[in-house]
């Protein structure tokens, strides 16, 4: 991971910097979700669970940061080292929160690529470790589990959720 964060990859560098800002992450995620939802007609099928999963996962990630309060060790000076706790990565949580509800749909591969790119960008910038990224998946899994429960109980989707 130290090796990866010491590299300079031009296009990926710009992409990582764009995703690093909250506004950049929000805009890119929103655009991606909009395109995918329209393209694969997921407004009534996957979108409700994705939105709830995303919200819960981000909240849980912030909660976990406060509970574990793991100090961040930044491995490069590509960006100013954030002062917030490092475990888990909020950015990577967003990626995984989009990925999990899309299993069994054509959007899975797009969200998988996005989740991997976000995770790699955090490692590339040296602001997170692989363990922080793993924590993001854990938080997203909990968020998705509860989102699924809510969606099924409130009958927000008509189809069966197979995963």
């Amino acid at each position: 991971m130290i090796f990866f964060s010491s590299l300079y990859i031009p296009l990926f560098h710009e992409f990582s910097l764009l995703l690093h800002s909250t506004a950049g992450l929000l805009i890119i995620t929103s655009i991606l979700m909009f395109i995918v939802t329209i393209k694969f007609k997921q407004k009534r099928t996957v979108l409700p669970i994705i939105l709830i999963s995303l919200l819960l996962s981000v909240v849980f990630a912030q909660g976990a940061k406060e509970i574990y309060h793991e100090d961040r060790t930044c491995l490069s000076d590509k960006v100013a080292c954030p002062t917030s706790p490092s475990f888990p990565s909020s950015h990577a949580t967003v990626g995984f929160a989009l990925l999990l509800p899309s299993i069994g749909t054509p959007a899975f591969w797009i969200y998988l690529l996005y989740a991997i790119l976000i995770a790699l960008s955090r490692l590339y910038l040296g602001v997170h470790s692989l363990f922080d990224i793993a924590g993001s998946l854990g938080v997203a899994l909990i968020g998705y589990t509860i989102a699924k429960f809510i969606v099924i109980k409130l009958r927000l989707v008509a189809h069966e959720i197979r995963v």
């Binding site: 990925l99 793993a134 899994l141 429960f149 995963v163």
Partner: protein, 185 residues
């Protein structure tokens, strides 16, 4: 039916193996390892569910050990997820062990003995009094680590949670219940 017994024996053994693995490689390495296993599992699940491709060795394994009429590989994946989340939650190895023992032995016993049970639970006709009792007895191995009334209370709540009909898989529900309670107390 015999396949179900085999499945639960593997369920119990795997839980113990994860505990041993955590002991030797530590929480962080275990979490990273399981992270990649889960990602791979999600990809395989997508290939099976959406693309419906045949996967030579995977299909054979799933046919042998997975329950019929369920999404293939899902139970196994949720089990790994349950262990993964527990590993992330607990820095304390003893608490990790306690939760995994409840999942592995408690849930394993519940299925093994519950299958031949004759007294369905009032709130869930698909599960039996015998199975829930077996869960409590099996889960009580945790008392060897934390011998206290509170531990028994956690095991009891986990057993009740496992018996309630829910869309959440037991393999993730039990770690969430037991893990949250051990975390708080």
């Amino acid at each position: 039916m015999r396949s179900e017994y085999e499945r639960q024996i593997i369920h119990i053994i795997l839980g113990i193996l994860f505990i041993v693995l955590n002991y030797f490689i530590g929480r962080e390495l275990l979490s990273i390892l399981l992270f990649f296993v889960i990602l791979l599992g999600l990809i395989l699940m997508q290939i099976k569910l959406y693309h419906k491709y045949k996967l030579p060795y995977v299909d054979k394994l799933l046919f042998k050990f997975e329950r019929p009429r369920v999404t293939p590989g899902l139970g196994s994946l949720w089990y790994v997820v349950g262990v993964f989340i527990t590993g992330l939650m607990f820095i304390d190895f003893a608490k990790f062990t306690a939760v995994i023992l409840i999942l592995a032995i408690g849930d394993g016993f519940a299925t093994i003995f519950g299958l031949s049970g004759r007294h369905p639970l009032p709130w869930n006709k698909r599960k039996t009094v015998e199975g829930t009792t077996a869960f409590i007895i099996g889960g009580s191995t945790v008392l060897l680590i934390y011998p206290s009334p509170l531990t028994f209370f956690i095991i009891l709540l986990s057993a009740i949670g496992e018996s309630i009909p829910s869309c959440i898989d037991d393999n993730i529900l039990i770690p969430l219940i037991a893990g949250t309670l051990f975390f708080i107390f």
